[in-house]
Amino acid sequence: ASVSGFLSLLSFTILFLAWLAGFSSRLFAVIRFESIIHEFDPWFNYRSTHHLSTNGFYEFLNWFDERAWYPLGRIVGGTVYPGLMVTAGLIHYILNLLHVTVHIRDVCVFLAPVFSGLTAVSTFLLTRELWNQGAGLLAACFIAIVPGYISRSVAGSFDNEGIAIFALQFTYYLWVKSVKTGSVFWTIGCCLSYFYMVSAWGGYVFIINLIPLHVFVLLLMQRFSRRLYIAYSTFYIVGLVLSMQIPFVGFQPIRTSEHMAAAGVFALLQAYAFLQYLKDRLTRQEFQTLFFLGVSLAAGVVFLTLTKPSLPPLLRYAKIHIPIIASVSEHQPTTWVSFFFDLHILVCTFPAGLWFCIKNINDERVFVALYAISAVYFAGVMVRLMLTLTPVVCMLSAIAFSSVFEHYLGDDMKRENPIKQHPFYPVKNSSVYSKLIVTMLMLMLLMMFAVHCTWVTSNAYSSPSVVLASYNHDGSRNILDDFREAYYWLRQNTDEHARVMSWWDYGYQIAGMANRTTLVDNNTWNNSHIALVGKAMSSNESAAYEIMKSLDVDYVLIIFGGVIGYSGDDINKFLWMVRIAEGEHPKDIRESDYFTPQGEFRVDKAGSPTLLNCLMYKMSYYRFGEMQLDFRTPPGFDRTRNAEIGNKDIRLKHLEEAFTSEHWLVRIYRVKKQENRQALDHKLRNIAAKQKYTSKKVLPSRFH
């Protein structure tokens, strides 16, 4: 009796330690810098959560944001997945109700690490359903520290994926449970969890396609049973109704092709069950099974041809034809290095786990095999989808490791079925030494895995990217806080209703930290508006001034990395601005104008005159020509492009410099109002003396 008690204590302790490990390893950024929201997208999520916590739930759901996408505005309530904000808002509300006064920002920063622990617990539950408790504990430990998941859930990365992976694993656990037991209770639990997942992330499409695929494959394998029928019918109907409650999803589940597979399988299942019912009533022969097989295959082919191709091919089409999507670096295919970097030894071990699952097949192991195969395909096509592969890799490698350890650490005497003698590989009972060696090797592998994970987390995935840090030779640190310096200058020194124009990357940060109205932001829902901003940046100053006047712009903000050698600045992104502008205004902007005749993009004297006179160039290099960074380089030497700039004497007519941050990283310009009297150019002020025309005619003399 005490054994089971000891076992559950051990499991509890291990899960608690896994939660703690996952939480702690995500705190590098908070310890090194401070508790701050990272990157770009989380700033919008934070701002929405702030709005939710100050104004209430219904205000958030009906929110029309007029301080973004000026003058269009953005309907936030209907274009966002509210799960993240509601979760953070709810936790904040409950804590404040208990008089634990935590600021909403701290809740947002630490939400993802807390939920990583919950993900570990749900992975444990899922793997325990699939294999056994030992594998479950291993899987929980793996997913707590694996870099593929940490990259999107560090402290400060307040983004949908942080809670969505927990919702995913929990939904899958409840689905497996409901297929195993066939009870409506577990299925309704699965539907509620699915509803949470739909509210949290757009990746819910993966669930609504994987579960029907699982049902379909079970039908093909002749594993139809009453439990399956109850589970899927309830899940589809209740899940469908619940998913349509999210305003952003709306009527998509009954209209778009990504959801049609679920409907098709639902119809197929009803037909199959009906035929099964008839078969029980009437006597038929053996080839009836073939008939069922043939019918389901035919129906499956029909449904597959009716539904359009799935997500990644669609994304590849979008990538080729829409420049904005192509410019995001996460939408690239995956090299093997990324697999190894994010998953280390798990990526080599999980095929073995897959092998075991298929060799000892049952209903739920079919599910995990399908999950693995589809996830590995998607991850191969797009780097960003590595995140969906990570949970299944953890689970399957945990199964593999668990099997190995069971074989080598299990007690031979107590084994239920002794090792059968394989005809080709003669097996002797492994001696103590070989067991010891193999166990030591496996443990070493696991230790190296833990070290690798921590190293990757510390070096690659823990930078807030709002604050930059550089390290000197002696190890001391220089903090470059230019971004926040500039945003706070904006917040404190400009009018509350001032409008700031910048490239779309910085829109969320400006709205979040500076609290000013922006023209375009990371949502990128309106390509023509972004193209207008791109056109203003790439035209010369007068043409740009016309556009800025029409858009009521008060300030322009650009990022310039030439002083410190920062390579993510606006001049490096400039070609994308030109391309997007050219897409909408092909007659005014031509990408070839910005290259030299040889086809190079140069900022020095040999650069194209269009480039040297465009607004972005002028704003970036204003007064830079007088600046000499060190003795070896001439004044006006751009460290990022490694070139001396071509146009050093820049004069701005319609803009004036408002603010430049300490390391010249962020530069803000004020748009001057039009003057009452237009000053004429000197040329036009000269009045050319009129030519006096003297007629050469002589009066005819009549008096000759």
Partner: protein
């Protein structure tokens, strides 16, 4: 008086013929050129030019048609892979034009190979291939008449857009349907069907777990060794350093990879997995 009148009339008629004769000669020359170009186009959508033909048809006036010329080097010893790919796209474009309803004699597609017309390359001071230049009906080609290959790529749709920009002739690019895909699918289905028919009494092989496990494993290993990246980006097998002659099978940067690299990784993964599955399999069987 009558004879004077006759001589004047005769002179008037003959003199009128002389300037008109020059005009007529020009017209006949032009229509000859056009009909020759049409005849060549009817035989082959992309006209092959050498130096002499180029000078006669493109350089020498009169000309009322514009010509798009691809300057390329397709001989195998030139080792220009881009030229071959661009040539395929160019052929698709020219064929789409030739078989379209809007086909006129206002625009022609031609090509000059370096080995056939190197004097043309020299004359135009060209030293890179492939290059696409539009020779408009009137005047010399300007800077925009050279197609920016580096920026736009050589897809037939992009070329068609550029042609429409420069010559106002809109060509709808129609790619010949690729029968390879459906054919393979048809063959596969036929194979599966025949297998199912032959073994219709005993479908046990479908339920053999080893087959399924093995194929699942193959798929997973192929994906995780980076084959999709190879399929999308098309890297070389390995890289031979031109200066030192050393062959490197592993790419220096982590953003890219060689095909050889993925095969090495695949091998290691197979060894690792088979070892683990073998040791533990003895227990679970």
């Amino acid at each position: 008086m009558f004879y004077k009148l006759l001589i004047v009339v005769f002179l008037a008629v003959s003199l009128q013929g002389a300037p008109a004769d020059g005009q007529k000669k020009k017209e006949t020359l032009l229509s000859e050129k056009v009909s020759q170009m049409m005849e060549w186009t009817s035989k082959r959508a992309v006209i092959r030019l050498n130096g002499e033909k180029f000078r006669r048809l493109i350089r020498a006036p009169p000309r009322n048609y514009s010509v798009i010329i691809m300057f390329t080097a397709l001989q195998p010893q030139r080792q220009c892979g881009v030229c071959k790919q661009a040539d395929e796209e160019y052929q698709i474009l020219a064929n789409s034009w030739r078989y379209s309803n809007a086909f006129t004699n206002r625009i022609f597609f031609a090509m000059v190979d370096f080995d056939e017309g190197s004097d043309v390359f020299q004359m135009l001071n060209m030293n890179s291939a492939p290059t696409f230049i539009n020779f408009p009906a009137k005047g010399k080609p300007k800077r925009a008449d050279t197609y920016e290959l580096q920026v736009r790529g050589f897809a037939a749709e992009q070329l068609a857009r550029w042609v429409a920009d420069r010559t106002d002739v809109h060509i709808r690019v129609i790619r010949p349907p690729n029968y390879a895909g459906p054919l393979m699918l048809g063959l596969l289905l036929a194979f599966i069907g025949s297998l199912a028919y032959v073994r219709r009494n005993n479908l046990e092989f479908l339920f053999n777990k080893n087959v399924w496990a093995f194929s699942a494993l193959c798929f997973v290993l192929i994906m995780t060794s980076g084959q999709m990246w190879n399929h999308i980006r098309g890297p070389p097998y390995a890289h031979k350093n031109p200066n030192t002659g050393q062959v490197s099978y592993i790419h220096g940067s982590s953003q890219a990879q060689f095909v050889a690299e993925t095969h090495i990784v695949l091998l290691f993964s197979i060894l690792h997995c088979s070892r683990i599955s073998h040791t533990a399999q003895l227990h679970t069987e």
